[in-house]
Amino acid sequence: EPEVTQTPSHQVTQMGQEVILRCVPISNHLYFYWYRQILGQKVEFLVSFYNNEISEKSEIFDDQFSVERPDGSNFTLKIRSTKLEDSAMYFCASSVRQVNTEAFFGQGTRLTVV
């Protein structure tokens, strides 16, 4: 069964460092998303991406964040200068269509900023 794959599963980084979280969406999907879940809190939407452009982003997704689809398979989330409060589980998701369908989630990357 096709699945969304995220790497690494766990990343530890020092405050102020840049991190790149990687995702391989399901191959025939066209819409890609990042969500995050701070420990003990709700899963929160960060950004959606289609046709090499951001479709929608939340207030959380400030200038420190960026997304990219560098090739035909990967979808990345970059945090330029990490803060302690960026520590969270980051989920990538993809969907085949924009509406009337479900998003498939990856296993997540646990980011720990120290």
Binding site: Y33, S48, F91, S95, F105, G108
Partner: protein, 115 residues
């Protein structure tokens, strides 16, 4: 904008007992509704979804949910739970015409099945 409220943060239940996990939403437009499950140290897996049609939807692992538009609810039920159902369950909603397909999640309900 939408919001989702899961009224119970934890639900303890004995094995083979029935369970209902409650979800209420708020939205000014038509919505699609989802239940996701998160097993320990794993990602989010779709249990079931309501997009249109019959208000009673069946999902994986014997779960079902009923969409009640008048009560703005989408409660999840299972007639007989197993130990393996122990997990965190998330209700989520998106606008039916949402351009970005953004999901709004509830706070989650931890289902704890006891032997």
């Amino acid at each position: 904008a939408q919001s989702v409220t899961q009224l119970d943060s934890q639900v303890p239940v004995f094995e083979e007992a029935p369970v209902e996990l409650r979800c209420n939403y708020s939205s000014s437009v038509s919505v699609y509704l989802f239940w996701y499950v998160q097993y320990p140290n794993q990602g989010l897996q779709l249990l079931l979804k309501y997009l249109s049609g019959s208000t009673l939807v069946k999902g994986i692992n014997g779960f079902e949910a009923e969409f009640n538009k008048s009560q703005t609810s989408f409660h999840l039920r299972k007639p007989s739970v197993h130990i393996s159902d122990t997990a965190e369950y998330f209700c989520a909603v998106t606008s039916a015409n949402n351009v970005g397909n953004m999901l709004t999640f509830g706070g989650g309900t931890r289902l704890m099945v006891k032997p």
